[in-house]
């Protein structure tokens, strides 16, 4: 008899430091995970706890990657206990994973379409799985554009990969809230890219993930420039405790983010006041 709360063991093969507070954990689960871009897993740090994290790697890749930010809760004045603990872990150590859970990005619906991906901060983690999936079969899609913003240049996640994404056929546009010495790129929140970049692509599919406030403003901007609510997809964050639609924690109105989401079209959630 099995339990839906039973994780499987995964070995940490490598820890990649993305930014001062973001690390990518390359994992080898005992049983290979079949998943779709946009899905998440529940990650157990033994003896510390369990929390949901998006899968950052694309499904066709052998190794599973989870990119995790060490969070800081200003109301408590301390870092998150689970993200701190996982950040202390090293290659060779074991974690538990359950999943994959949730729905996925509109890969099929993107065929033949121009796709705009809008990310903020650690939100790029789940979007990366989608982006790499599109780039894997590049010829199937129209233009692929990434708008990505982070707090400072040092906080830009997956920095080593932007050039490769460009070579593979993505337009990559970056901005930071606060520039530092040597930064010659855009300064301002991610929505300024809508004004700075020539929007010479069809307003067909847009996919958004980032901090709540950023998602809200990005959606507003997307509507303004002509995206239809049903073609704007947001990946939402809630406290998915169980991941299987039972514990009740992650509801947004009648939806469970863990089961009906985490990806919703704006059309689905726009009437629910607490969507964000």
């Amino acid at each position: 008899m099995s339990s839906p709360y039973l994780p499987q063991r995964a070995e940490i093969l490598e820890v990649v430091e993305e930014t001062p507070n973001i690390k990518t954990f390359v994992l080898r689960p005992e049983r290979r995970l079949e998943f779709k871009p946009g899905q998440f897993v529940e990650l157990t740090v033994p003896g510390v706890g369990e929390a949901p994290f998006a899968i950052a790697s694309p499904p066709f890749q052998e190794q599973l990657e989870i990119t995790i930010m060490k969070t800081y809760d200003p109301s408590l004045g301390r870092h998150g206990s689970l993200t701190s603990a996982v950040h202390r872990m090293q290659a060779g150590e074991k974690v538990g994973i359950r999943g994959p859970y949730g729905n996925s990005y509109p890969v099929e619906a993107s065929v033949g379409k121009d796709v705009l991906i809008v990310g903020g901060g650690i939100g790029l983690s789940t979007l990366r799985s989608f982006l790499l999936t599109l780039l894997h079969e590049r010829e199937k899609y129209g233009k692929i554009i990434l708008f990505y913003g982070a707090r400072t240049p040092a906080d830009l996640a997956f920095r080593r990969e932007y050039e490769r994404w460009r070579q593979q056929g993505a337009e990559v546009h970056l901005t930071v809230d606060v520039g530092t010495a040597g930064w010659t790129g855009n300064v301002g929140v991610v929505t300024i890219l809508f004004d700075r970049v020539k929007l010479d692509f069809k307003k067909e599919i847009a996919v958004v993930c980032g901090p709540p406030i950023m998602i809200r403003f990005a959606v507003e901007k997307l509507l303004q420039v002509g995206y239809k609510p049903e073609n704007i997809y947001v990946s939402l964050e809630r406290k998915m405790r169980c991941g299987v639609g039972k514990c009740g924690h992650c509801n947004i109105g009648h939806y469970y983010v863990c089961k009906d989401g985490p990806i919703f079209s704006y059309q689905q959630v726009k009437h629910i006041p607490e969507w964000w």
């Binding site: 157990t44 706890g49 369990e50 800081y72 408590l76």
Partner: protein, 334 residues
């Protein structure tokens, strides 16, 4: 199908309960606080069973307030799910308790099946009772239910003059029914008439306008929720006493040599209930959390499972320190 029934005379009841306590791992209501609590009953404790009051909540048996789900080694090489290993016969449930279990079943027995819960459902035999004297806060009939069980029991007891009618509800109840056989006699038509009269009388006492279309609570505006939550002190009593509240959290515990994962009740009225990374709280206001609790039962659960997650037992009304009356909220949605 012909109902299988027997009559347990009043003067044999104590003896019969004694036998049950010796034959089965018996749990029954014993007076502790205002509402009796379920306790293991041995021969000495039989005379402390109270059947004329109702239980605080039966949920604890199926979804314990704290439950070990897994034990595992720090390197995760050993992962052992924990399941309910014994069995129990529980006496004293009401129609509302049985209905509550059916509501929990929809959540915990749908895919992926919660085997922890399922095992308890399979191994616990349910003996219910007709409500003869409903309580002030009861409003089951207003939701279209009856104060006596129609289904979901393994054995049901209906108090009548000079004793109780024992009715078999499922094969699971058979061993208990058989254990009672030496004390019971045949049920007469007069007894069944009495049962019918008692049931009708209880329903009459509960009379009130039907509460319908309750999914419309979703339409109550923010100001109404602010009003309703004015007296809420976020104690969580309504959620802990509710037979259908099931929201839970998971956490890890370090034991001597090993680690454990446990599940515990987490009331959605508490401020940190939905808090996510970096302290962001999607539901920071009390009134929106109270609204969510009521909407979960009458709108969200309804959309998902086609029925309300409320049995009209009124326990939340009795428990509320601020005298918030769920019936008033539901009436506002009419």
């Amino acid at each position: 199908m012909e109902k299988i029934r027997a009559f347990l005379p009043k003067e044999k009841t104590a003896e019969a309960l004694k036998k049950l306590s010796k034959t089965f791992p018996l749990l029954a209501p014993v007076q502790r606080w205002e509402n009796p609590l379920l306790e293991p009953i041995d021969e000495q404790k039989v005379d402390r069973i109270v059947l004329d009051k109702r239980l605080a909540s039966v949920r604890q048996l199926f979804l314990p307030a704290v439950e070990f789900l897994l034990r595992y080694s720090p390197d995760l090489s050993r992962l052992e799910p924990q399941f309910f290993e014994t069995s129990a016969v529980v006496l004293g449930l009401r129609a509302c308790d049985l209905r509550a279990l059916q509501l929990l079943d929809r959540v915990f027995l749908e895919e992926p099946v919660d085997e922890h819960y399922k095992r308890r459902r399979e191994r616990i035999t349910l003996i219910s009772l007709d409500c003869i004297e409903p309580w002030e806060a009861c409003f089951c009939t207003r939701l279209g239910y009856t104060p006596y069980p129609k289904e979901g029991f393994d054995l049901n007891l209906s108090p009548v003059e000079d004793g109780m009618i024992v009715e078999l509800g499922s094969p699971k109840g058979l061993p208990v029914f058989e254990a009672l056989a030496e004390f019971t006699t045949e049920v007469t038509p007069r007894m069944l008439e009495q049962r019918e009269e008692n049931r009708k009388r209880a329903e009459r006492k509960l009379e009130g306008s039907k509460l319908q279309g309750l999914e419309r609570v979703e339409g109550l505006g923010e100001n109404r929720w602010k009003e309703f939550s004015r007296k809420c002190v976020e104690c969580g009593a309504c959620l802990n006493i509710c037979p259908t509240c099931y929201c839970f959290s998971l956490s890890e515990r370090r034991m001597a040599e090993e680690l454990a994962r446990l599940r515990f009740w987490e009331p959605c009225i508490f401020e940190g209930y939905q808090k996510v990374a970096a302290g962001v709280n999607p539901r920071p206001e009390l009134h929106s959390r109270l609204a969510n609790r009521v909407l979960h039962k009458f709108a969200y659960y309804y959309r998902r499972y086609g029925t309300y997650a409320c049995t009209g037992c009124g326990r939340c009304i009795e428990a509320c320190l601020g005298n918030i009356d769920l019936r008033e909220i539901l009436e506002a949605a009419q």
